[in-house]
Symmetry: C2
Subunit: 355 residues, 2 copies
């Protein structure tokens, strides 16, 4: 029986145990030091506190003290912690007695800061691998993307995901993981998958802001014209960012970009954050309020990192990304929503005319 480890027992880590157990692997779910309560609850046979559903019975649960037991001998290791938690957890993993030829599947989305530089997760991981595991590291890497809301996956909604990695690795890992519900497809564009996954959280805030702006309008008319305009603008800007950073347009226009942006804006924490901002709340207050209620909107911090990531690219300017610039001014400069959204259309026109 093949052994699989999942590091991080939040939404996504726990959700992925459903397809994994369906494939009859020995599934080891490890909770970080922030997850001890979750692991405890699940051990008592109660529903997972976030997913609201019992995990499959066969899952082996490990609390934060026992990472080594969880990963020892595992052929596939899912990294399912937040981007904030990635470095400390991956470090612990690399210091443990892990199987040297394992494949790491990264479910972590976002950027990581390292000595003032903003890096993609796989970029950071590669540096850590050469530091800890040495140049002869045999660890393979896959970054997962695509439209996957964890709760839906746990409840059996058919889900497509794209695993980006070197051709052979991506193919092997998707073949190993795929079920009728969790349909994993391979792709060789790690950069595109990773960046799309991270940045879609940012643009989902914009779509939420749009909802918030029109929420208290007296006339009972939808505002999909405006939202659709923002949606398509977001896709366009995501394509610019991804291609400048070495990823492929195709990835943005496929499941990892368009698909993931669609699912994220349809429901979820980043859209909710945007909605609160669009209604007139101070962005920081809205973010903190949500956080207090266990609703961590990852796009808030990713927006800051995305801006810095863009500033690192020599051939990309923030002003060629008018929606991102607008978002940044609203969220981190606390500029008034209405005025900024008005100015956005003018900025859009300038960029449009230059193309």
């Amino acid at each position: 029986m093949k052994k699989v480890a999942v590091l991080g027992s939040g939404y996504m880590g726990s959700a992925v145990t459903f397809p994994l157990s369906e494939r009859n692997y020995e599934v080891n779910l490890w909770g970080t030091w922030l997850d001890d309560e979750i692991i405890d609850t699940c051990r008592q046979g109660k529903p997972h506190p976030r997913l609201g559903k019992r995990l499959p019975k066969s899952i082996r649960l490990h609390d934060s003290e026992h990472l080594s037991q969880a990963v020892s001998g595992a052929e596939v290791v899912f990294m399912a912690v937040t981007s904030e938690g990635f470095v400390p957890v991956f470090k612990r993993f690399l210091e443990s007695d892990f199987k040297k030829e394992c494949t790491v599947v990264a479910l972590t989305k976002g950027f990581i800061e390292e000595e003032g530089e903003i890096r993609r997760v796989s970029d950071r991981a590669e540096r850590m691998l050469s530091e800890f595991a040495g140049k002869d590291s045999a660890v393979s890497w896959v970054s997962a993307g695509g439209p996957v809301k964890a709760v839906e996956l746990a409840y059996g909604i058919p889900t497509v995901t794209i695993y980006g990695g070197k051709e052979q690795v991506a193919k092997q890992s998707t073949d190993m993981i795929r079920t009728d519900i969790y349909r994993a497809f391979p792709c060789n564009d790690v950069i595109g998958v990773e960046l799309s996954s991270a940045i879609k959280n940012v643009y989902s805030i914009a779509l939420g802001i749009c909802d918030g702006m029109f929420k208290h309008r007296k006339v009972n008319v939808r505002h999909d014209n405006y939202k659709a305009f923002l949606f398509a603008s977001a896709v366009d800007e995501m394509a610019k960012i991804v291609t400048t950073a070495g990823g492929k347009k195709r990835t943005v226009f496929g499941q990892p970009g368009v698909g993931d942006l669609y699912v994220t804006q349809a429901s979820g924490r980043n859209g909710r954050l945007g909605e609160l901002i669009g209604e007139g709340r101070k962005p920081k207050d809205a973010f903190e309020l949500m956080k207090k209620n266990d609703q961590f909107a990852e796009g808030y911090g990713t927006l800051r990192y995305t801006k810095r990531f863009i500033e690192q690219q020599s051939d990309l300017e923030l002003k060629s990304l008018p929606l991102l610039e607008t978002l940044y001014r609203i969220v981190h400069h606390e500029e008034a929503v209405g005025g900024e959204m008005e100015r956005f259309i003018e900025k859009y026109r300038c960029v449009f005319n230059e193309q």
Copy 2:
């Protein structure tokens, strides 16, 4: 005072009179022989029966008998009839005393059959122009696309639209029409704009089917993972169709494709038709039922035409468009939804692997 004519007083034709009157043009709205009741109602100062809102007071209303009065001297003529009505109305227009150097802005979306061939609207119009107006015709053509729901436009929701045409014409017409609410941008890809506008109605049925399939599920969980997968697949297939037919990828990935698909699936008749089918109704019955209630789902017929249009392209096969093929089997062969959607994922995998 510049004179503008709008032919067709349904949703879109009537909605566009709002920005036009804001620009202080003399706006002439002409109703077809199917629209006499609408024109009558508006003449009595009552709200437009479809939009549920009074048209601007300055609009001049013309019933079906008086097309010539509406178009005579008009510098811009909006064609706002359905694709079924396009040929007879455009013929009447060409036989009238219209201004020879006018610009026609086509709001009509769909395909037109001519002697067994399926044609784009502008393609058909060009043939009619050379037949009726002669080779020295000075009529300019623009096709409108992008995320524009008529009701929202009429109620002042900020709306972006793309006018596809020859560079100078597209620029001039957008400059002439643009307001703070109706933000028209030029683009030189007529084919891409036209095809995206037509085909998004077809794919919106697929997204509606997805809603219908999960509507009566017992567990209270959304199905956005699945819907997002279909959304991104639709965009991908639209890009294939458009580029094969000579349009640009960029158009599909922008407002006319992604944007318009987004707004259309968010609410509207084609999604509703799909929902009924997804719930288990016979497609033909669902279509007829809606039609009886004045809810004409244009995608139903456009699906048939899209299939034939594809069969006309020598370098495109239906089997490389698995979602469209699946839709066709469900809607026009009346195959069971569940089984076809299951097979779709397999077909998707085959196409994915070939790429």
